[in-house]
Symmetry: none
DNA sequence: TCAAAACCCATGGTATTCCATTTAAAGGAT
DNA sequence: ATCCTTTAAATGGAATACCATGGGTTTTGA
């Protein structure tokens, strides 16, 4: 499974265009390489991004709720209405929506930060601050991370 | 699988015409791109919309009830009699029915909000209020959402 | 006959596509 | 390792196509 990793800072032009790093584009699942989906990150002033396949899985999981239930209504509205699908132009660029740029405080530069199955887009200075904080948190809590091993059956169990 | 996502606010002209966002029209299943079906949202003062294929599936699911049972009677009547099918004009617009506009409190602007397999049409201010509520509910209930993984056989089982 | 709906065309703005240039990375040879 | 060549990626700007919107005209059906 290809993962989003490393970080890249690219320019945002007057139209709001940015090049998505080619490594990130290459990490998109086959059949889903035409676009990415983005939304406000829940815990930070940043843009969170993933591929459309990931969104389809989330949507499928909504079927766990009865179709006319309050929960289905609340989750589908809150999750799906906030999404934006952006297709790449011929050069691998997207146009950042105005509201998301403002939410993240992005002006002329955008930092793409890999997070594994997703990645984020930050205003560069804000990203550096947050990265610093995250590293300190990880130092404190490092013992909490446990490796999980995949068995051949595809199920998951705790490793040693 | 195409999904309705993101949100768009369009004008309603004097004739009650609105452009359905092109992204939503493009998300309609092939063979069902001439019209959409709408009805009063069950839980809110909003218009709920979907494609005709979706309605056919809902209708199929009514066969889970015995043909002359009370439930079959109640559900089929309640769900199907309130539906309105609206065809697009040459520019991708529909004419909102008067009663549904009043039910949703829509005057000059209409907000289209994607919900995955369906979407809703709201009076813009009412939508913003409801979105805020829905987001809070989701934060409280977020543990209820369980990812569901499709197996290669096409059946669905709970994942971890 | 009248109003509502369907159809048609025109416009302005926005988003998409295309091409040209610059910059950076990768590979080979000295 | 250094320099040069080659390729790919990122950037800038212009041309094009699409879409939302407004208005008008014809058709439909009550």
């Amino acid at each position: 499974m290809p993962l989003f990793m490393s970080k890249y800072t690219n320019k945002v032009d007057g139209k709001g265009r940015v090049s998505v790093p080619s490594q990130f584009r290459a990490a998109l699942p086959s059949g889903f390489q035409k676009s990415i989906v983005m939304y406000q990150a829940v815990n930070h002033g940043a843009i969170e991004c993933c591929d459309l396949l990931h969104i389809e899985k989330v949507n499928d999981s909504l079927e766990g709720f009865a179709p006319y239930s309050d929960e289905h209504d609340e989750f589908s509205l809150a999750l799906m209405s906030g999404l934006t699908e952006l297709c790449f132009d011929g050069n691998g660029r997207i146009i950042l929506p105005q509201d998301l740029m403002e939410y993240a405080g992005i002006m002329n530069l955008a930092t793409f930060a890999g997070k594994g199955k997703t990645f984020q887009i930050w205003e560069p200075a804000a990203f550096n601050r947050e990265l610093d904080i995250a590293r300190h948190k990880v130092k404190e809590k490092r013992d909490l991370l446990k490796f999980r091993l995949k068995t051949t059956e595809g199920t998951i169990k705790d490793g040693s």
